[in-house]
């Protein structure tokens, strides 16, 4: 629909979003936010970074009123895109209340969930207040494969019921997965499953240690070769990368250590009310129990973006930096040091770069 005196904007209005993005960036507006409402989960996924084995986690979580206050403050600061995630966010008894509050306050809300807790109440909520997107994690295309990773028998069947309920309502559902040794053979079937639902499907090969410092998930990583091969099994992938490379090649990368939007246009808040520049940047944080969102945004994040990389960080002018997934936050998660690059990302970047060049030669 269109309105006189105005303009309807959709996700494909690239020029509008590009111009807006530049304004958001230059004015340093926290446009994109992620709220981890809880780290509790009804599943026990082998690779999960949020896995924390404390039975009393709920005790330390923000309550409903505290989340509403933060959401209001984030709204006042200019946040538009809000992600509700976990753990499993629907495990909270007040999920519906927090979700509805965010919607009624004019956020574009995305929910990350394992899909197993889509009750009639949740379905009714999403029918009345549709989300922008619900992304559901599936780790295999069969109960055997998925449940082996989640550690909970029946989780695949429940997730499928959740997916089908939401799709039946017309909700925009996306599926996603994490590529790991345990499920590397599942991806053709997962792709077909997503296709059968008419849902987008994305894969993340980037497994990292848990937030509590347990490095055992790293053992689940597939080789960089396999990770890239899996990515390029999508016939359109090389072309997308080519377009991306052509757009940004030659544009001088900022000389700062961080070159992304963390603390510039985006933030992440954990279940206890600490706001971080993003999920992966753990050193810089501010407790929203001790001050407002705007104070945290203005005070805590103002200097970390000024850091410059050490001279011996090999990423500097590396052309593959555009395609490797360069991320000092990732470095910190992997190496406990944001200034020590990731061999894993670097290896993937090299292979990916070669694939892009070889597959799009002459295009």
């Amino acid at each position: 629909m269109s309105l006189p005196c105005g303009q309807q904007i959709g996700p494909n209005d690239g020029e509008f979003w590009k111009q807006l993005s530049m304004k958001i960036h230059s004015q340093r507006i926290p446009f994109l936010g992620g709220l981890a409402l809880t780290h509790r989960c009804n599943l026990s996924c082998i690779h999960c970074y949020a896995r924390e084995d404390h039975p009393d986690l709920a005790e330390f979580e923000l309550n409903t009123a505290q989340w509403k206050k933060i959401i209001t403050e984030a709204k006042d600061a200019g946040c538009l895109f809000l992600l509700l995630t976990g753990g499993e966010p629907m495990l909270r008894g007040d999920f519906s209340e927090i979700y509805r509050f965010a919607k009624q306050n004019g956020f574009l809300v995305t929910v990350f969930t394992n899909g197993t807790l889509v009750t009639d109440k949740i379905a009714g909520l999403f029918r009345e207040f549709p989300p922008k997107l619900v992304e559901i994690s599936l780790y295999g295309a069969s109960a055997e494969a998925h449940d082996r990773i989640t550690g909970v028998p029946g989780s695949f069947d429940r997730a499928r019921r959740g997916i089908e309920t939401l799709i039946g309502l017309g909700v925009n559902v996306g599926l996603k997965s994490v590529l790991m040794k345990w499920n590397a053979d599942e991806f053709p079937a997962l792709n077909r499953l997503a296709h059968s639902y008419g849902a987008k499907f994305r894969v993340d090969p980037a497994i990292f240690p848990t937030l509590a410092g347990d490095r055992s998930p790293l053992d689940l990583r597939v080789s960089p070769e396999l990770a890239v091969a899996n990515e390029f099994s999508d016939p359109g992938r090389a072309g997308e990368w080519r377009k991306f490379l052509d757009q940004f090649r030659g544009i001088r990368s900022p000389e700062n250590l961080y070159v992304c939007g963390a603390g510039i246009n985006s933030f992440y808040i954990d279940p206890q009310g600490f706001v971080f520049p993003c999920l992966m940047v753990r050193k810089v944080k501010f407790s929203l129990l001790s001050g407002s969102f705007q104070e945290g945004w203005d005070q805590a994040f103002s200097t970390f973006r000024n850091q410059v990389p050490d001279a011996d960080l090999p990423c500097g002018n590396c052309e593959q930096k555009l395609v490797c997934g360069y991320c000092p936050g990732f470095f910190e998660m992997e190496n406990s040091d944001e200034r020590v690059h990731s061999d894993y990302l670097c290896a993937m970047g090299k292979i990916r770069y070669e694939r892009i060049n070889s597959e799009t030669m002459g295009v």
Binding site: L3, G6, Q104
Partner: protein
């Protein structure tokens, strides 16, 4: 649209107004799932009118404010406001206050 100048309108809760980075957005709250991917950007005149659809301002009062704040003739303002209000009513985004 022919407007009653004495009428008062107020926003319904199907859509939320936001101001970010100098832009005025209307964000869908309820409605069809497929509409959740689209937002509206209002120009300054439409935003000015939208802010006054609070159930307290009559259309006449809004037009008076428009003329005072924008370089526009009364007739043009009446037509623009009429078009805008007409669309908002058609899409059930505002309602007349009794």
């Amino acid at each position: 649209m022919q407007m009653k100048l004495t009428a008062k309108y107020r926003k319904k809760d199907k859509i939320a107004g936001r101001h970010i980075a100098g832009e005025s957005f209307l964000i869908p709250v309820c409605g069809r799932p497929v509409d959740m991917d689209s937002i509206f950007i209002l120009n300054p005149l439409a935003d000015f009118i939208w802010q006054r659809l609070d159930g307290d301002h009559t259309v006449d009062a809004i037009l008076a404010d428009v003329i005072e704040n924008f370089d526009v003739e009364y007739e043009q303002a009446r037509m623009d406001a009429g078009d805008f209000l007409g669309e908002l009513l058609k899409k059930e985004l505002v309602e007349e206050v009794a």
